[in-house]
């Protein structure tokens, strides 16, 4: 992923930056800043009437730098999840990755932390930590920009497959008499399941981390803290979850790439693949994994008919994902999240 800072006086001193900017400017779709107001007319309830709210900036603590054995450095930017913590982790890892160094083996951002594996024959962990500390001080995330892909992401909420699974594991759930959606709606103060679904699909979600298994995105909804959904995980993990299930745990939506164990509340199923091992689908030609950290998923509620139609195309290997590449601007997002989200989503409408 390409990243750069807006101004040339950021002090990063990276000679590759201009070249990358040049490359990027050809690929970025310009965002149309107009006509944002009419799209969400009549959907005020989605935002609890807080259309003017901002993302409150978080004062981050001093990061914790620690060693992972002899070959990893782990940096916890903050204990709590926030856009500030995640964007900081993303900005630092994007910057260090763009330097194409051969003494680094893995550079992996996480929700509020990041992990780097290095080659101890070429680099001492203390030197790496020093460098990361300097980067942490230099990078101002409100000045950062990165290329993000905004994906249309259809979901069949209350689908029959995850419903069957969740009914099978009621004894492991906080509320055995309600479905996962009914429970989540209730503890988050929504009037009913549909109002909850409207909120979950009413603003886009940022992929703040990819992992656990290949292709699984952790998605953090791009709304102010007070509008965010928070739900506990199952009391005891299930031994089964259908592939492509859309789950929620803590403050994150997860999409299960393959069938397996899981502990997140089950809301629905997407017809889309996030992992295509055989790389049959056109959008998987470069990588078997679709989502990357920093991508944006716009969840959209669909009916069974559309679900089946998309599945047919996916299975035929002809489905093409709907997405646009945009320049993501944290400062704009922090200042006017709802409007900015609408502009982002407009790119794919």
């Amino acid at each position: 992923m390409i990243v750069s800072s807006e101004s040339d006086d950021s002090g990063l001193g990276n000679p590759g930056r201009m070249a990358r900017l040049g490359l990027r400017s050809k690929r970025i779709e310009r965002i149309n800043p107009g006509s944002v107001c009419d799209i969400y007319n009549g959907c005020e309830s989605v935002f609890h009437g807080m259309t003017n709210s901002r993302i409150e900036r978080q004062e981050l603590p001093s990061p914790r730098y620690t060693y992972g054995g002899d070959d990893y450095v782990f940096v916890e930017v903050a204990e709590a999840m926030s856009f500030d913590a995640n964007f900081t982790a993303q900005a630092i890892t994007q910057e260090i990755r763009s330097r194409d160094r051969d003494d680094l083996i893995e550079v992996a951002p996480a929700n509020a932390s990041y992990l780097i594996q290095f080659d101890p024959e070429r680099l001492h962990p203390d030197d790496l930590i020093e460098e990361l500390k300097e980067l942490g001080e230099e990078i101002d995330i409100s000045e950062y920009r990165w290329e993000a892909r905004v994906f249309d992401f259809p979901i069949l909420y209350q689908d029959p497959w995850t419903h069957e699974t969740l009914m099978q594991f009621r004894d492991r759930h906080q509320d055995p008499d309600a479905t996962d959606l009914e429970y989540s709606a209730q503890i988050n103060g929504f009037e009913g399941v549909q109002a909850f679904i409207d909120a979950h699909s009413g603003a886009p979600h940022m992929v703040t981390m990819v992992g656990f298994v290949p292709g699984l995105p952790w998605c953090f909804q791009m709304v102010p803290r007070e509008e965010q959904i928070e739900v506990p995980k199952y009391r005891q993990p299930r031994t089964d979850t259908p592939g492509r299930a859309v789950g929620f745990g803590g403050a994150f939506t997860a999409i299960y790439p393959v069938r397996g164990a899981g502990g997140y509340q089950l809301y629905g199923r997407t017809p889309l693949e996030v992992l295509d091992v055989d790389q049959n689908l056109p959008d998987f030609q470069e990588s078997m994994v679709l989502p990357n950290p920093g991508d944006i998923l716009d969840f959209r509620q669909i009916d069974r008919e559309e679900y089946d139609a998309i599945r047919e195309e996916i299975e035929a290997g002809t489905y093409e994902y709907t997405y646009e590449t945009v320049e993501f601007r944290p400062d704009e997002f922090f200042r006017r999240p709802h409007e900015y989200n609408r502009e982002l989503v407009e790119a794919i409408e």
Binding site: Y67, G68, G69, D71, E79, A112, S113, G211
Partner: protein, 323 residues
């Protein structure tokens, strides 16, 4: 060509690992005991990144359909060619028609079979290693099955190396009660002082769930080792939960019981990790058997780096010896 007569308990094609894709959730896979994998390759004149067979607990029976130079290292599985015992940690010439058989491991858990030229399977994302969870790498993405046919990469005849052997002083022994060295860190701050002491002082038994994904350990309850707190936003409700982090290979995840994450592990998640087994001891732990006991010894990062350099020096000495 090598034809699989009997695949053994769990045999996979592995190399040094698949790197550069951790950020999309791809663990490295690769040989669990990199030391034994590397030495097996050196014995037959390969570079360390040639693919070998990793054989777990019980080895396979393999029919060679062409002449080859082979070497078996790691756990002792009483290797034999046409029922005649052969030396482990030694290059051995086999002929077309020979059957190489490996038995149950008497010491250690994993043996490695290298063939001059290397096992020839397609490279996926830069590695021949098998990752069975999503079925990539190795032989069609799965562990070997009866009737599978493995190609061997063509190389000039190396049979003059037959008899080359690793000096006894360089062969590890797989004793019980090993101290596994750990650099404490990651989310270690979540433990109380007493909890940390208890964790490091305890004897841990390797459970039945000990495989390429991770080693689940049995011992004292881990939850009381944690500092109580009001859980931060997004972390989840359990005291052992954190906002999801990336997990180093070798890190110890506190999920009900400690789990040492191995080379096919999940790349991240929401349980606190409290330390990382140092890389030479990941090799040793890979040879520790289910139901055996281990303890953890905290070391500082300089000790960890020295231990790694010592392992690398030893490998270099072996490489020079067997050249």
């Amino acid at each position: 060509m090598i034809r699989v007569i009997d695949p053994g308990i769990s045999t996979t094609v592995q190399d040094t690992g698949r790197f550069g894709h951790y950020h999309i959730g791809m663990p490295p896979s690769g040989a669990m005991d990199q030391f034994s994998h590397t030495v097996a390759n050196y014995l037959v004149g390969n570079d360390e990144d040639a693919a070998t067979l990793e054989m777990t607990y019980g080895g396979p029976d393999l029919a060679f359909e062409r002449d080859a130079l082979v070497a078996v290292t790691g756990a002792d599985m009483s290797p034999a060619v046409n029922d005649e015992p052969i030396q482990a940690w030694t290059a051995v010439a086999v002929e077309a028609g020979d059957v190489l058989s490996l038995d149950f491991a008497t010491e250690g858990a994993r043996s490695y079979l290298a063939v001059a030229g290397g096992v020839d399977v397609p490279s996926i994302m830069g590695s021949k290693s098998t990752y069975t969870l999503i079925g990539i790498g190795g032989y069609e993405g799965h562990q070997l099955e009866e009737g599978d046919e493995l190609a061997i990469a063509d190389v000039p005849d190396r049979s003059d190396r037959a008899g080359t052997s690793v000096d006894a002083s360089h062969r590890p022994d797989y004793g019980e009660g090993d101290r596994i060295r750990v650099v404490m860190g990651l989310c270690e701050y979540r433990l109380t002082d007493e909890g940390r002491e208890e964790f490091l002082g305890a004897t841990w038994k390797i459970s039945d769930e000990a495989d390429r994904v991770g080693y689940r350990l049995e011992g004292p309850d881990v939850e009381p080792m944690f500092e109580g707190r009001e859980q931060p936003f997004g972390a989840g409700t359990d005291v052992t939960n954190v906002v999801d982090v990336g997990y180093p290979v070798g890190s110890i995840q506190m999920a009900g019981q400690p789990i040492v994450l191995m080379r096919d592990a999940v790349t991240g998640g929401g349980y606190a990790t409290v330390g990382t087994v140092i890389s030479p001891d990941r090799d040793r732990l890979s040879q520790s058997r289910t139901h055996s006991e281990i303890g953890f010894e905290a070391v500082d990062v300089e000790t960890a780096l020295d231990a790694r350099a010592e392992r690398d020096d030893r490998l270099e000495a072996i490489r020079t010896d067997v050249r």
